[in-house]
Symmetry: C2
């Protein structure tokens, strides 16, 4: 029994969730299954060639102001990156490897911190290598593995699963009985739903 | 000093807010300024010819399920209307008259209750007349006034103000110092912001 946390590394609101989900998980005694995925293909099928916050400028203006307020409330740093949305493919491939080895949560937090806490470009392999090394991991091996057919296939299967679940945004949460919750604002409700299944 | 509550009668999540905002207002001692407006023209400029929940089916499927859950949590009835989104023009015009006379809150709640609590069609003048009469109001006079140039001009000015504020969805909340909050989930934060201005 675990709550599945689906996240796209380019997503601003997923940063908020990534930074607080483990505290919620511990206090509630409910495990989290970290599931990186790519929203690009889903957005493309909706006719968007970028983030909805770019496609719809009013929403984008609001989102950045709202992120400032939410980060203030959570005590998180926010430095708006020059590039938005960022290319998250390599980060997602790396995180996918980390799922099996147990370092996906720490890696994910470090990537979001670099992207939205420090405004850095997470598409850069050097930046991601630095994060891996700080976690005591073998960056060269992991970067090579990130380009392997195995990881590509696994990420593609993850995308098929996202489609099956009807995901359309990030963060999303899926309970053990298949209930879908969307958005950082629904994290508590998702945990409460999962708790009732226990 | 008051928190402005901007709402479109066709909006599902605004139903949740309309039903709970007065309790929040009373418990916090902060007045609410009820501001009906039309999202149609704003959506049209974004390239949508309907609600985003119709334009993007995955979001629509999710929204109705989420509404079921939120209504359960708030103890509100939910009966999905056959027509969605509904034509809200006449309801908005009537509510606009009610703003000056003080019956906009009760009228607004009754319209949302009919629309989403009972699944009825709020574009029907007979239905709206029934609501007005239940509130002890002169339905014939008010329906005639709803079609007047004065009300049309006032609603148009309201739309210009919505544009000036950067509104793009409903419900929206605007504090006395111009801070914009979007969505039923942000009601508490909007009140807290307004309270700090007091």
């Amino acid at each position: 029994m675990a709550l599945a946390f689906w996240y796209e590394f380019a997503s601003t609101y997923s940063y908020l969730t990534a930074m607080r989900i483990e505290a919620e998980s511990r206090s509630r005694g409910i495990d989290v299954d970290w599931r990186p995925f790519l929203l690009g293909p889903i957005f493309k099928r909706q006719g968007w060639n970028s983030s909805p916050f770019e496609v719809y400028p009013l929403k984008g203006i609001y989102m950045w102001r709202d992120m400032e307020r939410q980060c203030d409330l959570y005590g998180l740093p926010l430095l708006r990156p020059d590039i938005f949305p960022q290319n998250s493919l390599l980060a997602a491939r790396l995180a996918f490897s980390g799922r099996e080895e147990g370092w996906a949560p720490a890696f994910t937090r470090a990537v979001y911190q670099a992207e939205f806490g420090e405004g850095r470009d997470i598409s850069r392999p050097e930046l991601l290598a630095g994060i891996l090394m700080e976690l005591g991991l073998d960056a060269d091996t992991l970067l090579a593995r990130a380009g392997s057919e195995d990881v590509k296939a696994a990420l593609k299967a993850q995308g098929a699963e996202a489609d099956r679940l009807g995901l359309f945004g990030s963060p999303s949460f899926v309970t053990s009985d298949g209930e879908l919750f969307w958005g950082n604002d629904r994290l508590e409700q998702a945990f409460e739903w999962e708790a009732r299944l226990g």
